[in-house]
């Protein structure tokens, strides 16, 4: 039914050849691929920073917006560029954790990482540090408690992928 509907709405797209998947599978493929591509492009912006340094990284977001390119054919406003950088930083955090064995959970509209009892939503972490003083000052301690403080935001793997 849905296949038929999309075939009708998008006759130029080969809907019949698309693989029917669950939303869980989509998240793994899309998010991880998007983060890897972003990191490959802008790894220099985060090189040397660790997960525990997130508040300092967030402080540098206004500076980083100048170095992030607009998507093709789009001219982003200042706030949109800042949002793009926050997405980028959250993606780097997520990818760093995924590579350390954290499990990615995605459903439409929601994405978080789990390891044991711990649960972390990377975008909410970055937004929280940017807007909430309590979260900002509590982050280092939280990261230490989770054992992720020393994880580099750009792994060697990601760095080499961009070369």
């Amino acid at each position: 039914m849905e296949k038929e509907l999309f075939e009708l709405l998008m006759p130029q797209v080969p809907v019949a050849r698309m693989k029917a998947v669950t939303w869980g599978e989509v998240g793994d493929r899309i998010y991880v691929m998007r983060w890897v591509m972003m990191l490959a492009q802008y790894r220099s912006l985060l090189k040397g920073w660790k997960v525990g340094d997130l508040p300092s990284v967030v402080d540098r977001i206004p500076e980083m917006t100048k170095k992030i390119r607009d998507p093709k054919g789009v001219l982003l406003a200042r706030e949109q560029r800042a949002e793009r950088v926050r997405d980028f930083v959250a993606g780097a955090l997520a990818l760093a954790l995924v590579r350390r064995g954290w499990k990615l959970h995605t459903t439409p509209g929601e994405m978080f990482l789990c390891q044991g009892e711990a649960r972390l939503a990377p975008k909410a972490v970055v937004d929280g540090i940017a807007s909430n003083a309590q979260e900002r000052f509590g982050w280092a301690e939280k990261a230490r408690a989770l054992g992720i403080e020393e994880i580099p935001l750009v792994s060697e793997l990601a760095a080499s992928a961009g070369r």
Binding site: M1, E2, L5, F6, L8, M18, K19, W23, I30, G109
Partner: protein
């Protein structure tokens, strides 16, 4: 669900509005024919008084313009592009059972075709045929709509749609849409997409022709705007009436909660399509659409955003004269006046999530 036919109170004001719409339809054809005839006759009289490049250009322009307008007015055999995936009574038995119950409550025949569309919306129409003959009834129901509404809310939405059949809105709509399309075609063929537009633009360099061109386009576009205002005003009146009947058939509270839910969900659909569906499809994956949309709406951030949207619609309704439906706030206010007394067996049939997933056959979700 009450299956005894509904005896609905009559609304004379709606009959007056419908009559006005028919007058506007007739006027639109009369105006176009008069403009077309004047477009030939006046330049011909001028040409007869003396042939020169200006009168000749005016005459040629008049003929082209008149031919364009008359050609645009000719009613076309109704071609009906499929709006979505056709639903099948065997496969989607539960949905069809609901449709049948609503149809019987309003003593209306079942639609000949039912489609699933990719929208948080439902609509009815009469399509096909020629000049109002050989039409068939069509009902379209959004897959995302099915995924977000409870059974009671869906019944109210279906009852609203069937009330348009009941009130004769779809029959009247054919004439209104026909006139609207004819005028739109005239205007487009005269100004933008017509094959004769380049020739007319060249001729319009002659001052007299340019003025005549401008006057004709201005008259047509002014009437078009007036017509659209009247047609959409009627459409909004019909929507109130359809809400009233839906309240009587399916319950006022179900209709009100359905309308609120649709307002919030409709605002979230483009975001879901852009942020979730499109990226997945761009890498060759096809995740479940309707179920995914429901998940997105249930995510805390999206749920908050949808609730905010409803609140905004209630506090600061945006509305303009070309809207086909009244703002949510006005619809809810009008609905409060209708009896909310529930009829036996019309309550929610059970857990919304379970119910909504059972509405269509396995193939749907």
């Amino acid at each position: 669900m009450q299956s005894a036919p509904l005896i609905a109170p009559r609304r004379r004001s709606l009959a007056v509005w419908s009559a006005l719409a028919l007058v506007m339809v007739a006027l639109s054809y009369v105006l176009t024919v008069c403009l077309a005839l004047a477009g030939i006759y006046l330049p011909w009289v001028w040409l007869a008084s003396g042939v020169n490049p200006i009168t000749l250009a005016m005459f040629v322009f008049g003929v082209l313009m008149s031919a364009t307008m008359l050609w645009s007015m000719i009613p076309r055999v109704g071609r009906f592009p499929k709006p979505g995936a056709r639903l099948d009574e065997k496969r989607d038995a539960r949905l069809f059972a609901e449709i049948r119950q609503i149809a019987s409550a309003l003593s209306e025949p079942m639609p000949a075709e039912v489609y699933a569309i990719a929208d948080v919306n439902a609509w009815v129409a009469e399509r096909g045929g020629f000049l109002g003959f050989g039409n068939r009834r069509v009902l379209a129901v959004g897959l995302p709509l099915l995924s977000v509404l409870t059974i009671g809310e869906l019944r109210a939405v279906l009852a609203h749609e069937f009330a348009h059949y009941y009130g004769g809105d779809t029959r009247l709509g054919r004439w209104v849409f026909g006139a609207r399309d004819a005028m739109a075609q005239s205007l487009m063929r005269l100004t933008t997409k017509g094959a004769l537009v380049p020739v007319m633009r060249v001729l319009a360099r002659v001052a007299f022709v340019g003025v005549a061109y401008g006057v004709v386009v201005m008259v047509l576009s002014t009437y078009w705007k007036l017509f659209m205002r009247a047609a959409n005003l009627l459409s909004r009146r019909q929507a109130y009436r359809a809400d009233e009947l839906a309240s009587l058939v399916a319950g006022g509270s179900e209709l009100a909660s359905g309308l609120r839910r649709i307002e919030g969900a409709a605002a979230m659909l483009p975001v879901f399509l852009q942020q979730e569906m499109a990226p997945a499809m761009s890498i060759g994956l096809r995740p479940p659409f309707a179920a995914g949309f429901l998940q997105r709406l249930q995510a805390p951030q999206a749920a908050e955003a949808a609730a905010r949207r409803v609140e905004e619609a209630l506090l600061k309704p945006t509305h303009n004269a070309f809207d086909t439906h009244p703002p949510l706030r006005d619809r809810l206010a009008a609905n409060r006046g209708v009896s909310r007394e529930r009829r036996p067996g019309r309550g929610r049939a059970g857990s919304p999530v379970v119910e909504r997933c059972q509405l269509c056959g396995e193939g749907t979700f």
